[in-house]
């Protein structure tokens, strides 16, 4: 609890910004959904034959898992605000539509007959009788939709639309419970507050509601606009950074501290940030040097001229005991030692990301080309579990490891790719939930070890020294062993569109300073 309070006071501005974004996302989509679903709900009460189909269709929309829905929308609407609002809008449709339909259908037939019989027109029947009587039910629908939207809006951070999900995803990536809570708690509170406020409205009678309803019509757009308040003043470069980068010691803070450059950050996941910068949604991203998309999207890597980032040589890490007891395992994995340089890794990544070849196939092709591939040994040995973080390169590495182990040892391999982030993989390894995963020396150094400042400064420019340091410290502190490095250095690098970098004459991170 103390940690949470500290976190909030340290991140006041960010929390406020995320809360506002979250409220904005919730209410923009709610407003749009209400504008569509209430008239549509009314319409299908007039065309009962359509009602079944329309309700079923919105019902199906509701069943699409939210993350998947966001995924589907990216190719169509890109990333950021648009797909997030559209997805939330789709989720809000059903409760509003269904309740409007139900509310109006349930108005007593005798009341409707009497109303028409004494000479109300159909419009008057709707406005004076059906809508007022259905209003509590419609409000219940709006209430449900609001609560759903507050919840689903946490996922908006996944596609760079901000909101409280930024802390939640960051917290998951870094396995930082305080950070997760810092997002989850305000989100839950928002849900409860809005739910209770709407409950109050719902329970006042229709007449009072139609009076309070009018100010409400103003409040909703106002709340909707909350999303844009933080952006109204947004100094510096607009940057899309993954949650992990935002939270790690060698990430965002390190760059800001080292260079004194200003960013307005959007949280973007690894898979989306390259496209985001390519399409101009953001100006700067923190890419991975070996990612296939760097080349494909024609991104310029800014030189880290003041060495904010350590070297990130990749090597499998395992439980020391396992490595020592099973020399054959170490030998199998050592087959890859030094074989994959930066450009090779980039090509492998490219093949998966752009040629849409499965990581398994890419790994097999590579091993075959290297003459390392062997078919499965007889099964029946112990099962080894290989984990990975959640980006393309790690998926490929998992396949490489697992095919080598299958081919050269009698272990069975089980894979757990796509674990949220560094801390999750690391904790899983320490707890024995996985047996090995590919890690990067710089990450080991700064995220998992946190060495004294003078040590850091001394070794940060020397890849071998960093490798020796993490090997020694991991063994001593955690009983984990770094196997031989594979050869490539997948460093963090700030990246920009080549054309923009060229026109602004930005080559190094230092060049960013003072431009915005």
């Amino acid at each position: 609890m103390g940690e949470l309070i500290t976190f909030f006071s340290d991140n006041q501005e960010k929390v406020m910004e995320q809360v506002l974004e979250h409220i904005g996302l919730t209410f923009i989509s709610l407003l749009l959904a209400a504008l569509i679903a209430i008239p549509a709900g009314i319409f299908i009460t007039r065309r009962p034959r359509l009602s079944g189909g329309v309700l079923a269709f919105t019902g199906i929309l509701q069943t699409i898992p939210s993350i998947a829905l966001l995924g589907f929308l990216i190719p169509i609407l890109g990333i950021g605000l648009k797909p997030a609002i559209f997805a939330l809008f789709l989720y809000a449709l059903l409760p509003i539509l269904r309740n409007t339909y139900t509310g109006i259908s349930e108005v007593d037939a005798a009341v409707k007959e009497a109303a028409l019989g004494i000479g109300l027109s159909k419009g008057q029947l709707l406005r004076q009788v059906e809508l007022p009587l259905a209003l509590p039910v419609i409000f219940a629908g709006l209430r449900t939709a609001t609560v759903i939207n507050v919840g689903v809006a946490t996922l908006a951070a996944y596609i760079g639309a901000g909101g409280l999900g930024e802390f939640i995803f960051g917290g998951i990536a870094l396995n930082n419970a305080t950070m997760i809570l810092a997002g989850a708690l305000p989100a839950a509170l928002l849900a409860i507050i809005f739910d209770q406020l709407l409950a109050l409205l719902q329970n006042t009678n229709a007449r009072k509601l139609s009076k309070t309803g009018k100010p409400l019509l103003l409040i909703i757009p106002l709340l909707s606009s909350a999303y844009f308040w933080p952006q109204a003043y947004a100094p510096g470069w607009s940057a899309g950074f993954p949650p992990e980068f935002m939270g790690r010691p060698d990430g965002y803070q390190k760059v800001v501290d080292t260079y004194g450059v200003d960013f307005t950050t959007t949280i973007l996941n690894n898979a989306l940030m390259y496209k985001a910068v390519y399409e101009g949604e953001v100006e700067v991203i923190s890419g991975y040097a070996t990612d296939g998309r760097v080349e494909a999207y024609n991104l310029r890597q800014l030189e880290d001229d003041r060495h904010a980032f350590p070297p990130y040589y990749c090597a499998p890490i395992v439980q020391k005991k396992l490595a020592e007891e099973n020399k054959i395992l170490k030998e199998a994995l050592d087959l890859l030692a030094g074989r994959i340089n930066d450009s090779v890794m980039t090509v492998l990544n490219y093949r998966v990301d752009f040629d849409k070849i499965s990581p398994e196939q890419v790994a097999r092709d590579f091993l075959k080309a290297e003459g390392l591939w062997k078919s499965d040994q007889n099964q029946g040995g112990e099962t080894l579990i290989i984990g990975s973080k959640i980006f393309t390169e790690q998926y490929i590495l998992v396949e490489l490891f697992s095919q080598l182990i299958n081919g050269y040892t009698d272990y069975d391999v089980d894979t757990r790719p796509g674990l949220g982030g560094t801390k999750i993989c690391f904790d899983a390894l320490r707890n024995g939930e996985i047996d090995l995963y590919p890690e990067y020396t710089g990450t080991g150094l700064q995220v998992l070890l946190d060495p004294p400042q003078d040590t850091l400064e001394r070794i940060i420019t020397q890849p071998d020294a960093v490798y020796r340091y993490v090997s020694r410290e991991f063994e001593a502190q955690y009983g984990l062993q770094w196997l031989s490095p594979l050869g490539f250095n997948n460093t963090y690098a700030l990246m920009m569109r080549e054309a923009q970098a060229e026109s602004l004459n930005v080559k190094t991170i230092s060049d960013l300073v003072g431009q915005r």
């Binding site: 005798a110 019989g117 000479g119 008057q124 004076q128």
Partner: protein
Amino acid sequence: MIKTQGLTRHFGDFTAVKEVSFELQEGQTLALIGPSGCGKTTTLKMLNRLITPSAGKVWVNGQDISQQPVVQLRRQMGYVIQDMGLFPHYTVAENIAVVPRLLGWEVSKIKARTGALLEQLGLDTGAFAQKYPHELSGGQQQRVGIARALAANPPIVLMDEPFGALDPLTRQQIRRDFMELEELRSKTTIMVTHDIEEAFEMGSLVCLLNRGEVQQLAPPEALLQSPANDFVADFVAEKAAQLELRSAKLRDIFSELPEVPPLPGNALPLSPTLPLLRAIYRLAKARGEHPLGATTYQGQQRYFTLSMLIEAFKNNLQSWAN
């Protein structure tokens, strides 16, 4: 006042109403009656176009209603239904004010009208005007429903089993009150009922329907005295005694009444065609210690007291018993 010609309605292959024709003069009451599914409600709803006729026409004051804007048509016809259909979110006063408000009456006029109607229907304005329908008994709700139908002074009133949802006692009470409403005397009323006693008591004309077809359209006593066919005869047979009583009219006992007023005071003028029972009821309700009634039939005037009417009614009962 209102006239139909060949009114017919099909629902798919089913013919609910077949060639119903009638004509009603101002101030008359037509009771549509018949077994369930005989088409009486369908007929009624074709009069205010809640149901569109498959064939046939309706004229109100000589105008073909299919040529009139439907909303305007309905606003000059009061409409009362069995389930009342009061607006649950409106107060009693607001329910009654619906049509005057739609017609753009001034607020003060609406208020006065609402109060007057409530008083006429025996509902205290102070106690009831601001109540919501769910706070009222069934009988009170139906009074409000009637008030709402009458609010804008429509010349025609349509009623679909207006007392059907009430218990028998309340029903009788409200029906009597209703028939005695000053408001309604001049109205042309068409009502649907399945209660033949009600039809006889209220209708100046009774239209007996079966399977969508008119069996007989005549004053109530004619159905007893000269049934058009076996169906009519059977239909009235069971309750013939009660119906006979209900159809006995002032003119039937005219010869028994004195030419000179038996008491001093102002006499209440009553129509000779008024049923005896209603005359008794009306006189009993009249103000003054010794109410006096008068009726004029074939150019002659006769006077009567309440006790004389009751005596005549008893004799009538006797003659029927013999």
